[in-house]
Amino acid sequence: MIRIEHIQKRFKKLQVLNDISAEFERGQVISLIGPNGSGKTTLIKSILGMVKPDSGKIFFRNAYINGSFAYRQHIGYMPQIGRYPDHMKMGQLFDMLKNIRGVPEEQLDNELIRQFDLFTMFEKPMRTLSGGTRQKVSAALAFLFNPEVLILDEPTAGLDPLSSEILKEKILKEKQKHKLILITSHILSDLDELTTHVMYLQEGNLQFFKEIGNLREETGEQKLGKAIASILKSEKEVQTVIRDLLSAVKK
């Protein structure tokens, strides 16, 4: 569905993405994890065409997305921070996006709007809403058009436990509909039950991209958090061993 080939991106002196290649298919839920500043958001933004990579190509359904925009009608995106025009009413925001997408009313997925009880707030200006409510709006917008691909950047950050649970249920439901879902999150326990694949980035390098089953098998850990921690630890051990060996050889 989405194929990334040797993406490089550099912001001034900082190498944000270093030769990333990967292929995502329908039915996968990919957890994109890594420390702050590891290039997760930049990777997502490259897929959406907001950031233009220095080199490398991204394909959507085998079509190179070189500056085109029509492919984005198949993507629902929930940004990390949702800020909207101050005086725009929530209803107007939804109207505007429906207008842009032109998806007929009966094909819309209003479930999240209903569950988050947003219909009652349609007359409120966006500036009066709390951060959490804005986050709910962002989530509802991402799912509204029933897209084949969902890209969620820190979806549960800032949501109360109840809403966060609703959102997770919704993601599970969409997963069963055989969609491709990309999630970044720091709250690994949230991802445990959703994920099929784990992609780990560090300082712009792709450390690994593995199926969750394999990951659990290799590490013998059931929890995602522990599995990743143990992989990173063993990698560090390997590195120290190599370094020791090298210095021994030099001597």
């Binding site: 950031v51 009608q73 993507i75 949702g82 909207y84």
Partner: protein, 255 residues
Amino acid sequence: MFKVSRYVFYDIIKNKIILGYTLFLFVVSMSMFRMEDSNKKAILSLLTIILIVIPLVSVVFSTIHYYNSYEFIELLLSQPLSRTRILLSEYAGVCISLLSSFFIGLGIPVMLYAFNPTGLSFLFTGSALTMVFTSLAFWVSVKARDKARGIGTALLLWFYFALIYDGLVLLILFSFSDYPLEKITLLLSALNPLDLGRIFIMLKMDVSALMGYTGALYKDFFGSMSGMLFTSGIMIIWIILPLWLSVRKFKRKDL
């Protein structure tokens, strides 16, 4: 295209700054027309205020609006819309809001008290200047990533066109006063949309006699049909060029 700009417009007209701007223009122009005995004098007095205020408000408001809409622009970018269309929609939204302010605040009084060629050329200049400075503001904001730097540059641009430029022109005229400079001053005035607007209105008011020989030349040139076309053409270039540059930059930009 109006799918997006319509909503940008709805958002901006509820903004207090825009409401205040409209009210300010309305109060100032109404009081000028009521105070001065001839409406030409009133327009002359208004001209001084307008040539300072319109560019300033347009440039600062547009710049701030752009930076505040950054996340909203990101949201639009995740939709199936081209970058050119997103930026032009934003531009249209801002421009239409500022123009409506201008036409309500100044247009109504001018229509009431000075519905004549002078009044109309006044409205033409005002709206052209609004569009020119919104264009310039967009160019600056797309170029500068940092908000403080963007607003600073926008203010500097206003400062340059409203104050520094005239000083520079005077300096040139003084230093080369031994040479015939009429044609050159004509050219110099085209390089500043504010000057162009000012001359355009002044000549409509028959006060060019006060400006001596250069004034006569101006009158000869700007008063003619080709002069009017020249003014409109230059104004349009001043609108299109910065806008085109900002679209070009915006298309390549990382957001």
